[in-house]
Amino acid sequence: MQATMSKADQRKLQKLKLKASRRDQYKRFTRSKGGNFFYTLFLILFGLFSVLPMYYCIITSFKPLDELLVFPPRFYVISPTVASYLTLPSLLDNLAVPLSRYAFNSIFVSVVTTFFHVLVGSAAAYVLAKTNIKGKTVIFAVVQMSLLYNAYTLEIPRYLIYSGLGMIDTYWAYILPMIPSSMGVFLMKQFMESNVPDALIEAAKIDGAGSFRTFWQIAMPNVKPAWLTLTLFSFRDLWSIQPGGTIFSEELKTLPFAASTIAQSGIARQGCAMAVTVIMMIPPILVYLVTQRSVTQTMSSSGIK
């Protein structure tokens, strides 16, 4: 009977379970009411302090010119206006190629690279965490160590490698170097080690699943919070990627570059600069909300009862 339960019913059941477990959270024996109150108060105060700069950006983008020039800058706006946003289209004429081209580059680079970044990193992490191949301890040690080496001094050797591989002034210069991330492999490996039980992998193998299938269908669902978080980290970094010394063609440059072109026109354009900043903030925030919403909804299930 249970097997024939419709999908809608199943979903309903899941929701009920979730609600029940949520209620339980507050009723846990180990929590005192006074403690709960104090914590909530502290968190709200700290949280408000943290959003201050983001709030300031948004407020400033709605300030009229005379309020923009007030010093010290105010944390509120008296007569809000969307003038800064309305002047943006006229500033687009200063751009060398149409805005849509920059937008396409940014979206293409962020989405494609993030996908491969998470996939490649997770596959490597699975091998390092859950198999017995030779040399995995050494590789993992090198991955960890590479995190501690100062990135700035690597720029010149990297540039030589890019040019040796013919990557200069192509999309590859954005994509390839961003795919292998020591941080991502490290994060995924730690999660897989503690959250993917060996027994589960053995069971999958007995059922005839190959290594890749075990990784994709058993390991990955068990570390969903980890790869969702990695997706966010990767997207956030890639969205703000600027062509360094590796991209020269205007039609390959990204939105942050266009944004900085629009913004760099002195104090009178301060409002426009803030408006651009606010607009540029939206995609990472959306990705944040989507990924973290499902992170916080994943109920831990080890897969073994």
Partner: protein
């Protein structure tokens, strides 16, 4: 005889299976490994090699063996100051940042999914908003109109505005505060996800077994189940605490007054960017790496001891 034969045949089959399985494992590792080797391992190796050369980024590197290192420890008078600043910043913001990121994640985890998402969004907002430390420039502005100065003046606590970012005795503490406030990034979110993955049955079992309050639960259940994620946090924290440079350069400039806010990484950036001494910059990076690696090894042992 018959039996022995089947055994050897079987083990051959097994060997082949194992070989095939390992082949797949190597194939799964290879995309990462190849790219990682090309874009990280090779550059690190060449940078270490470069640290023994005199290289100005244009002409052919000249072999100098330990010249760069000798110069760093004997001649450079910014280095000792930068080293001590870096150590102070690392010792204050490293553990404290880790602690704050862990405790906040732990507190946020008490709430239902929606409140949790909202609160963690607020804490993560500085990381999402990008270069946000400018807000501190407004707050700590050195004239009488800066928010902190004008508040202190109106309360009568000071008689004339303080040059917060230009004063050697305030610069470092202010950078500590800003850096701590910005530390709610990678470590915080990885802790949030790590807490999601702690098996709730452990908490139930703990409550039955006599865990009395949240602190007990934290020490005996949460921390032991989070060890590997905490180790990740430790390494990321070491990386960011020893690499502080963007905030001091933005707030206090480089070089700052009396080098009061210069760090090793801001020294590296200066040596490389404005003096083009790439071999020397590489040597400083190697020293910094050794420092960070020693710290990591030490802390790794500490994490393993927690919750025992």
């Amino acid at each position: 005889m018959e039996n022995a034969k089947t055994v050897t045949v079987l083990s051959k089959q097994q060997k082949r299976d194992r070989f095939l399985a390992n082949l797949v494992h190597y194939l799964m590792l290879s995309p990462f490994f190849i790219l990682f080797f090309a874009f990280t391992v090779l550059p690190v190796i060449s940078s270490v090699v470069l640290s023994f050369f005199d290289f100005d980024a244009v002409s052919t590197p000249r072999w100098g063996f330990l010249d760069n290192y000798l110069r760093l420890f004997v001649q450079d008078d910014v280095f000792p100051k930068a080293l001590s600043n870096t150590l102070v910043l690392a010792i204050v913001t490293g553990p404290l940042g880790f602690f704050v990121a862990f405790m906040l994640a732990w507190m946020v985890n008490e709430f239902g999914p929606s409140v949790r998402t909202l609160l963690s969004f607020m804490f993560y907002a500085p990381a999402l908003a990008g270069n946000v430390y400018f807000i501190w420039q407004i707050l700590f502005s050195g004239d009488a109109y800066g928010y902190i100065n004008s508040t202190l003046l109106s309360w009568g606590l000071i008689v004339e505005p303080i040059q917060w970012l230009k004063n050697p005795s305030y610069a470092l503490p202010i950078i500590c505060i800003v850096q701590l406030w910005m530390s709610m990034g990678v470590t915080f979110l990885s802790n949030i996800s790590g807490l999601q993955n702690v098996n709730p049955e452990l908490y139930e079992a703990g409550a039955i077994d006599g865990v009395k309050n949240r602190w007990h639960e934290l020490w005996y259940i949460t921390i032991p189940s989070m060890k590997s994620i905490m180790m990740f946090g430790v390494v990321m924290q070491i990386q960011s605490a020893f690499s502080i440079s963007v905030v001091p350069i933005a707030l206090c400039g480089y070089p700052s007054i009396n080098n009061s806010a210069d760090t090793i990484v801001s020294l590296i950036t200066d040596v490389g960017t404005s003096r083009y001494e790439m071999g020397y910059a590489a040597a400083i990076s190697v020293v910094l790496f050794i420092l960070m690696f020693a710290t990591k090894s030490l802390l790794g042992k500490l994490v393993n001891m927690a919750g025992r």
